[in-house]
């Protein structure tokens, strides 16, 4: 019996952890193949928002520095589409937990980390595809980014933001225990989105609201992406706006660290 245990080297463990994570992520790929309509709706929703804000509300928007609202909006929408990903992650986690699939995984001899690692891989992949779709839509309505390298840097910051909201989604999914709780998050994500600089300049809001909007965890990413892509930037902002690039890195990393720890605790707590 000890021979069986000794046969499992660290290398083998790591290899299985990776293989298992890919297998778990592969399940999501199979879902996408079977439900292309759901994937399409998910990817097109941010596109719809982009079109609505550009053509229906854009005419009345004041852009800081007097640039084009479309160019101001696209970075905001890109960042928000990463935030909206929290709903998909939470739904997947809470559904698996409520249906007993998480427990089935936990009763298998697979690497325990693969349950969460697979979720990460699948959601990051689908968000990357979503970003591409949204950027193509933006290109179609005349948006032009500054260049290849700044665009790739912007995509990096956006995916970092997605990672933060991925862990928030996992944590909420483990806490919720009931899929109907997702609706609450779907509603709350809106005041969160509007209380940021994604749609309008934070400095256009009254006093303390503008401070909150500026310190919103997505605000740093939004401003940093605007800077990278050569879009109009809020010049009347405070410290947070001036240090957007720092916040675009620090905020997601802090959120990821906090919620990853909470999630791992919660996940281990399942066996209590």
């Amino acid at each position: 019996m000890t021979a069986v245990l000794a046969g499992e080297t660290l290398g083998a463990r790591v290899r299985w952890a990776v293989t298992d994570a890919l297998t778990v992520a592969g399940r999501d790929v199979a879902h996408w193949r079977r439900q292309p309509a759901a994937v399409l709706v998910g990817a097109l929703f941010p596109v719809l928002l982009l079109l609505m804000f550009t053509y229906l509300l854009g005419g009345g928007m004041v852009v800081p520095g007097g640039g084009d609202y479309r160019d101001f909006l696209v970075p905001g929408m890109l960042a928000l589409s990463m935030v909206f990903g929290v709903e998909a992650t939470m739904t997947a986690v809470v559904t698996d937990t409520a249906r007993g699939i998480t427990d089935r995984f936990r009763s298998l001899p697979m690497a325990p980390s693969a349950v969460v690692a697979g979720r990460c891989l699948a959601d990051m992949a689908s968000s990357a595809v979503g970003l591409v779709v949204l950027m193509l839509a933006a290109l179609a309505i005349g948006w032009r980014p500054a260049g290849v390298v700044p665009t790739l840097a912007a995509v990096g910051l956006l995916l970092l933001l997605r990672l933060a909201f991925l862990w928030i989604g996992i944590c909420l999914g483990l806490l919720a225990r009931d899929p109907s709780m997702v609706v609450a998050v779907q509603i709350l994500v809106w005041p969160f989105a509007f209380l940021s600089n994604a749609f309008v300049a934070a400095s256009s809001m009254p006093g303390w609201l503008s401070t909150i909007a500026e310190w919103n965890p997505v605000a740093g990413t939004v401003t940093a992406v605007r800077e990278l892509l050569g879009a109009p930037v809020d010049t009347a902002g405070g410290w947070a706006t001036d240090h957007a690039m720092t916040l675009a890195v620090v905020w997601p990393m802090v959120l990821t660290a906090v919620f990853a720890v909470l999630s791992v605790r919660r996940f281990q707590g399942l066996s209590r």
């Binding site: 019996m1 199979a30 079977r34 007993g100 936990r106 001899p109 697979m110």
Partner: protein
């Protein structure tokens, strides 16, 4: 060779609530043990401890020869778990589900496909093709769930209320699948609320109540321990049922108050000796002027034995009163 399951003094509490309170259990290899008990008796918690999903607070738990606390991975390699609700992916088809779980058991792609087809044949789902599981009937879903618990031909299979919520046909399907497994040498621990299920499938029955095992034995031993036969009467006038109980108990030679509370016009009396008891009881009731519509002398059911053992026969009367 150790038994399939060996539990000594298993304790588990959640805060102030004691769920398992010194549970002992032995399940021999190649046997089927049914864990019975009312809701809240601790059945599911016990299964979750045995399947490494929940850590015990005290006691020792060995499954397939390995300690669940010290060697959870070794235990996981040797068990299959079929939980209370089908834990399969609704969006995928039956084969896709089984391939997924086989891959997570570390079979390579080809072996996983072969194993999935074997399992589909075994539970009679080969012809479902790519139909998503959400379009399956309850019985089909259950059978797939059981197949998912069998990927590596487990040494010990845990079934937590495998037929809850199924129609009679679905239940029979699942029973057949379980019997086929046992014939291949799998040890099974099953929890159930259906006494008939325990009678149909189990070699041994273990009654769990208040976190402890309060009775154990073969179904026959349990019914025998509670008392051999029952005389069941239907009196014409329900208002005289109480009176009929007292008379019948005396005529049947059983102790006063030994009859479980009946329902309405139905009176059930334990019988000490079969010989002549039907005539004696009917005569006694006839003399008292109580008309009897029906009389049956039958063996005690496992249901009655179970209710007596768990002390639930009084509660049932309160519900029906």
């Amino acid at each position: 060779m150790t038994g399939a399951i060996s539990i000594q003094g298993l304790a588990k509490r959640y805060g102030e609530k004691v769920v398992l309170d010194g549970m002992d259990l032995q399940v021999a290899r190649r046997s089927v043990c049914a864990l019975l008990g009312p809701n809240g008796a601790g059945k599911t918690t016990a299964v979750r401890v045995m399947t490494t999903l929940v850590r015990p607070d005290g006691g020792t738990v060995q499954v397939a020869g390995f300690d669940v606390r010290r060697h959870p991975r070794e235990v996981r390699r040797r068990i299959g778990l079929v939980g209370q609700q089908p834990a399969v992916d609704d969006v995928l088809g039956a084969r896709q589900n089984l391939v997924l779980f086989a891959r997570l058991h570390h079979l390579d792609r080809r072996a996983a496909g072969v194993r999935a087809d074997e399992l589909l044949a075994q539970v009679g789902l080969l012809d479902t093709g790519s139909t998503p599981v959400r379009d399956f009937s309850g019985g089909m879903r259950r059978r797939l769930d059981i197949a998912a618990g069998l990927v590596l031909a487990p040494e010990v299979l845990f079934l937590d209320e495998p037929t809850t919520g199924l129609d009679p046909a679905g239940r029979r399907d699942v029973w057949e699948a379980i019997r086929a497994l046992v014939a291949r040498g799998t040890s099974v621990l099953l929890t159930t609320q259906y006494l008939e299920e325990a009678e149909q499938l189990a070699d041994d029955v273990c009654v769990l109540d208040g976190g402890r095992v309060v009775a154990r034995g073969t179904p026959g031993e349990l019914t025998a321990a509670v008392g051999g036969d029952r005389l069941e009467l239907v009196v014409a006038d329900p208002r005289r049922a109480q009176e009929a109980v007292l008379l019948a108990e005396r005529a049947a030679g059983s102790a006063p108050g030994s009859a479980p509370p009946g329902t309405g016009e139905r009176v059930v009396v334990p019988v000490a000796r079969r010989h002549g008891v039907v005539g004696a009881v009917v005569r006694a009731l006839d003399e008292a002027g109580i008309a009897v519509d029906d009389v049956v002398l039958r063996p005690t059911t496992l249901d009655e034995a179970y209710l007596r053992i768990t002390g639930r026969d009084d509660e049932r009367a309160e519900v029906s009163a």
